[in-house]
Symmetry: D2
């Protein structure tokens, strides 16, 4: 039984609490949130102590799940590492690459599992597609196309402090690109526009992006993002290789199709939003973490993966600013 | 070059004229229709003589395409056979099984090709599905499900003299069932209702039917019909066997799918009506006939097939009237 | 909190135990199974008492979930009713219509909820389709087509005592037909064959069936069954009405499609078997039962629904034997 | 009746000859090809004169269809214009932008229709998608994604003189991007790799490309190309807007889907190659040209469109060479 301290009891924290409660071999050891009402609600619901501080929660547990606001992630990783507890940290590690590098150095030598919450790697569809590529089903991989569009614009207050679309949203796609390519991107081109909400330009952000990654061996990857999609959460991955193509598609709540004088084969809008779309991925990801904790093994998604995705985001930011193909090795923490 | 006399210049006659005009190795030798304006229009368009009688048209040709009203088919088959000309006759041969039997006897010994216009056998999808079954792709065939729904009710005047839904509409599905099953149906159950237009009951017809056929070896086949379908012409064939299933589906004018807040993956309504849906089938069927004429070979769809489909229609009529599983061998001309 | 006694700890009992454990507002009060090892395993896993008899388990609970072998269902329903406990009973109530009628009479006046386990009514897709029909989305319903094929033949020992395909397998489809039609079937035609395993004929059963139901107003319903389908558990419902059609389709484990030189758009085989395919339905059905227990309300699927589905099965058996359209009112307990 | 001189009797010339022969209101006036056997074959087949020179063919006709090798297009456009004949010219006008500009100047003031053979604009699916966007169905257009992959690598001898992938293959996609965007691309980024055949690097070409276009208003467009796709000719256009998305998908020879223990919903490989995939587009494009000739109207795809697509190709070439976002207005003939 792995006893987990949950730090952060917002939307994603609640979801993790439910996942932990359902998982065999796991239990909530304690919850903590600076908003005590939020922590109290989860504590009551699952019958676990509400800690007065993150440190207190960490002390009560075997492992720590960090789902607090981004700015606190690196500090809490360091605190959990000091306490010798296995760590599951929501993405991103930090918005500052320098802080991530410092965190990495601070926990150097820490020998317990550290897993970063890039949940999409655990989606059964995305995973099956990746496995098929690794198994040689489509021959040498040549192109990856990732379409990633949120159903609707997040709150302006959130967006202002999000670090910008590349660090906040595309970072998932950068991780997925690395996962699928099986080779590090060497060059990044990125551009973007404010097509959903022009006022995002006030704080230098965009809501629509297109990106191209190229690996050393020449593999090509395209990512497109939008902060809004009328038809639901759009999460597609296309893998194109010498012998074929795999597409991991969207999910609907059920498989009803409608046929009328206006249209045929019409299905439901796509599952909205990530907690619904990736419900299995969150569960499988947690189970994978629990297995790593039990065996003291290296997770599928490491601190290093968290850092590398952020490096790609930094490269994208520079590319967009300078209008050129940026080499990833130009980016240093 | 096969010179063809076209008898009957209505909707389906016009379509055949265009198909003949496009086909290599075929030409219109003459056209005839009791409505001289209709014949004249086709004659002018394709630059061929308008005959004063069916006999005159037949005399000018190597082969005869009979697309006149049903009541005249058997007489014209006999006339063409007497003249020694190859025959392509639209379905059904006649609404009366006795007349069909008499016609068969009348042309006994005729040694030129006689093809009946069961166009669906030539549809590329249906044909590919049948070929896959024959090739063993789904193992032993166990069930066939044919969905066949017209886009909208035909004119009441037509329906009154149509011979009823089993002889007029289901007859295509009976032929397709035989084509797909690869074994003769031995028993027939049929029922029906007036759900589209209750006034059809005034002349004893129904607009919605469900049928079950069973072969001697136990293969099962379901057919459902409706005289109206809001979403277009619905023509599906499902073949279910020991190792898998094949579905030959509907066709749309193009492959655009729409994704909105209301629906995802919505395509166009289905192609409406049979001339559009089965455009390739009509063309391939005519080419097949031309090859048979050239080689004096037996067509894929013979007079015998026309008679057997009508026998199944008669069995369905009796089954519906008597509420029981009717043995096909109870039906005699 | 509703405390539930689980009677029967086989495959479906285990599934119900997990569902109860996950459900808010429910807990396992006790488990019982004549195979004590099976009961013990569930008791240990969920930390609940293992009762020495069904009666003892019933006494410990607010509600009883009957998942024992079919022959015991009616007795246990009566025992639970005598004890005044709400009842959730797996289908079928009994293989004998006479026993079902006797059970109904025995519990006449019992005023706690009795729900029969026709899980498919709770499937999100089937339910959404039914709701759309009720909302008038496709106009007047005209035809229902239910395709229901198991992935593989059950064990011969099970089949021998199953009561035959109509009572054991089709009974789900009869219930679904009633649910979808919104009107009682008035006539039944059924036929069948042994196409999967000819030796089933030794005990008078078939493995492949086709059925037609007709309501008083003329609505038509086709059901086809097979005890084996190579491509997985095939569970489709097609609802055809004056203004359109709805199809509730099959489910795959994920949405990956493969494109190769051999095929395009190829997905996974369908989810196999009912516990996987209908996982949500079992959960929603239990939640619905819990709400009824809390409010002492009438469930969506009543004892009466269990009896009516069995009446249709009896009508199908008679129809197949006599080769005729059987009126449902010919069947009496 | 428009009498057309066909210049060039290779693969695409043959296809045009057949289209002209089928079209109402058009006839082949003469054919010419430096390979006299090729011209002779078409002449015999359609019963039209074989001219000894392009000039002679032009003189016999009302309109000229130029399907010769690319290097001769501009000269023949000028010759046809001098002769006062309407012009349909296959893409590209020339591989040299300077030559295209010179040709434009040479025919300045010519007042007969000049249509460039960007056939994809006439594809029923692509056209319906574009029309839906124009009709406001998906609100403001935000992103366009064009996937364009040939089934297999063209002959090396052809590729060597093709002008490179951007001028030879992507040029179709550049035109389609302009057609769909409804606004001129202002900036171009392009990269590429030799993933299909590394030896293409010997003459400086690539076989796999990814491109991003951005318009002045911020609309984003991604194009990906591959010279080979195992599953057939892959031609998809995705249009993403404020209110929804449209996808114009691939086409199969028929609509059969296969369901086995290995896969469900598997269709045929896609239609291969452009003559099959775009058969309707070629026909509709020719009909549109014939209407323009008859009415002396401006075609949908003008000389200017041919030039603008080439400008985008030049921008892509420069972008790939310099690794930067190239402004389209940097490119001048």
């Amino acid at each position: 039984m792995t006893r987990i301290a949950l730090l952060g009891c917002g939307r994603i924290g609640k979801m993790h609490a439910a996942t932990i409660a359902r998982a065999e071999g796991a239990a909530l050891a304690a919850v903590y949130d600076p908003v005590t009402a939020a922590a109290g609600e989860i504590g009551r619901r699952y019958g676990c102590p509400v800690a007065a501080s993150a440190e207190e929660a960490i002390a009560l547990a075997d492992a720590v799940l960090i789902a607090t606001s981004t700015a606190t992630h690196a500090d809490l990783i360091e605190a959990a590492a000091r306490a010798g507890k296995a760590i599951f940290c929501e993405k991103p590690i930090d918005l500052s690459l320098a802080r991530v590098v410092a965190c990495r150095k601070a926990i150097a030598g820490f020998d317990r599992p550290v897993q970063i919450g890039f949940n999409r790697r655990y989606d059964p569809g995305h995973r099956a597609a990746r496995d098929a590529v690794r198994a040689g089903e489509i021959g040498d991989l040549r192109q990856v196309i990732i379409t990633s569009r949120d159903p609707g614009l997040a709150a302006r207050d959130y967006l202002k402090v999000s670090g910008g679309i590349f660090r906040d949203m595309t970072i998932h796609d950068f991780d997925l690109a690395r996962f699928m390519l099986g080779e590090e991107p060497a060059e990044v081109f990125a551009t973007g526009s404010t097509l959903v909400d022009p006022t995002l330009a006030e704080f230098g952000d965009v809501d629509s992006t297109m990106i191209i990654l190229r690996t050393a061996s020449g593999k090509l990857c395209h990512i497109n993002n939008s902060r809004a999609a009328a038809y639901g959460y759009d999460q597609r991955v296309e893998l194109f290789g010498a012998k074929g193509m795999l597409i991991s598609g969207n999910r609907r709540a059920h498989q009803v199709e409608r046929f009328t004088a206006a249209a045929t084969g019409a299905g439901e809008p796509y599952l909205d939003f990530f907690i619904e779309r990736y419900v299995e991925a969150f569960e499988i990801g947690l189970k994978s973490f629990l297995r790593c904790v039990a065996a003291n093994a290296t997770p599928d998604v490491t601190f290093d993966d968290g850092e590398k995705a952020l490096v790609l985001a930094e490269a994208a930011i520079r590319s967009k600013a300078e209008g050129r193909f940026v080499r990833v090795d130009e980016i240093t923490g």
